[in-house]
Symmetry: C2
Subunit: 300 residues, 2 copies
Amino acid sequence: MSLVIVGSVAFDTIETPGARRERIVGGSCTYSALAASFFTRPGIVAVVGEDFPKTTADFLKKRGVDLKGLTVVPGGKTFFWEGRYGDDPNQRDTVRLDLNVFRDFQPTLPPSYRAPDILFLANISPGLQEHVLAQVKRPRLVAMDTIRHYIETEPEALDRVLRKTDICFANDEEARLMTNEGNLIRAGRRLLERGPRLVVLKKGEHGAFVFGRDSLFGIMAHPCEGVVDPTGAGDSFAGAFLGYLDRVGNFRASSIRRAAVYGSVLASFTIEDFGIERFKTMKPADVEARFAALKKLVSV
Amino acid sequence: MSLVIVGSVAFDTIETPGARRERIVGGSCTYSALAASFFTRPGIVAVVGEDFPKTTADFLKKRGVDLKGLTVVPGGKTFFWEGRYGDDPNQRDTVRLDLNVFRDFQPTLPPSYRAPDILFLANISPGLQEHVLAQVKRPRLVAMDTIRHYIETEPEALDRVLRKTDICFANDEEARLMTNEGNLIRAGRRLLERGPRLVVLKKGEHGAFVFGRDSLFGIMAHPCEGVVDPTGAGDSFAGAFLGYLDRVGNFRASSIRRAAVYGSVLASFTIEDFGIERFKTMKPADVEARFAALKKLVSV
């Protein structure tokens, strides 16, 4: 398996100013694997309960996502998150969170996952991220993401993971929190000093920065006239970014830039519908067309 | 005079989280003329009191700004504004505002200003903007800017000016207010329907969009690790944008894109020091170097 993604698969209840959806499929692993599936065939490591719909598993398989690392806990219930968005799609409140089978999740990688080219430690606790790192032969590239909760509760473990990471993904709030630095450019540079050789700062509707030791790349978000559901945008960005790198097989500066544009493109599709719905209708040609449009948008 | 700028020249007292400066020179006309002066020799139409420092007038002249349209009211006091910034440099509060000589300002253009190639109606009331428009032979390009106060108090006059405008500059808050549209992309398109053939939406640290009837261009802001004083960034953007167009003498799509990059560049210099201080130290070569850096930053 050349790209392995470890993270959450979940049911989400989502409320936006315009609508509400109950218990739709979400989770960092789901979004990033689906986004990556437009470029490569990722394998996922996650846990669900018996209530997880077979139709979703079938859809993931159809999209080329390998499910050997997906544990189904007999009698268990899938991780549940309820969130509410206000008028600013970059802000959300957690209304409810039931860990369920996620509480005792100890990811064990199938033997065929233990020498990945790219390992993405998506949104799970830093402790679990370390546990996963210990199971693999050093990948060509280790990427990680995290959330406010772990930044606040497990800073030391997070720091250890950062030191073993090549690419750190964070949104603007997380980057500020991890560095105690209000200015986003300084926050990005500070994160670089903690280990990663690339830091990808996602700014929602304002795009993203990719910080390298001697480089900086900025990409705007694809202009969106109506955000339906912002959930999963960041995970989709990371999944597409890594999926693209897995496909091209090199980490040259030009590939990194194109990876970030694809990240922005996949994120822009995700937010056009609730949950993972947009992945069911979009085609590879749509991705290429939007890549070209975004490239034209920013071209000087 | 090929570029004429009508707007405010002021004393500003500015408070940021880090510092405070009393009665430094500011004003929309000042910032935009200084920014434009890196590309062309603009003429300004504005009013000041007898308290306006000769050193500043001399500096403007040295930078190539023509002051034939600058009225000095004997015994009068210059427009005064006091503002306070919080941690978010995109947000500010007006603490105090004394119109002084600005109260009775009726801009009269010197004869040599009445057939400009480009006319920039910077931050003055829509009524005065109309008054200026009535004095000129139709320019090749009319640009305008406004502020929340006039959007709220003179919407009809503003609408008439918009209809006679080729380029409308607005920041994100103003665009939302002018259109009652929360989504910025839709706000930009709505403004296009009101008359202008180009709408430039400035998003502060997040860059800017240039909307055309069949085009959209996005440019990021030059990454800034420490904003000293955000005042004048938008005016500098507009001044550089129009100054560059005046220099190249055409309004082709590629020129518009480069104009926006120069706008972003000049804004990024302005915020590196209080008031107009940065204009005193920066050189044309600095502008070109930053243009190249910003172009590289966004290049896919």
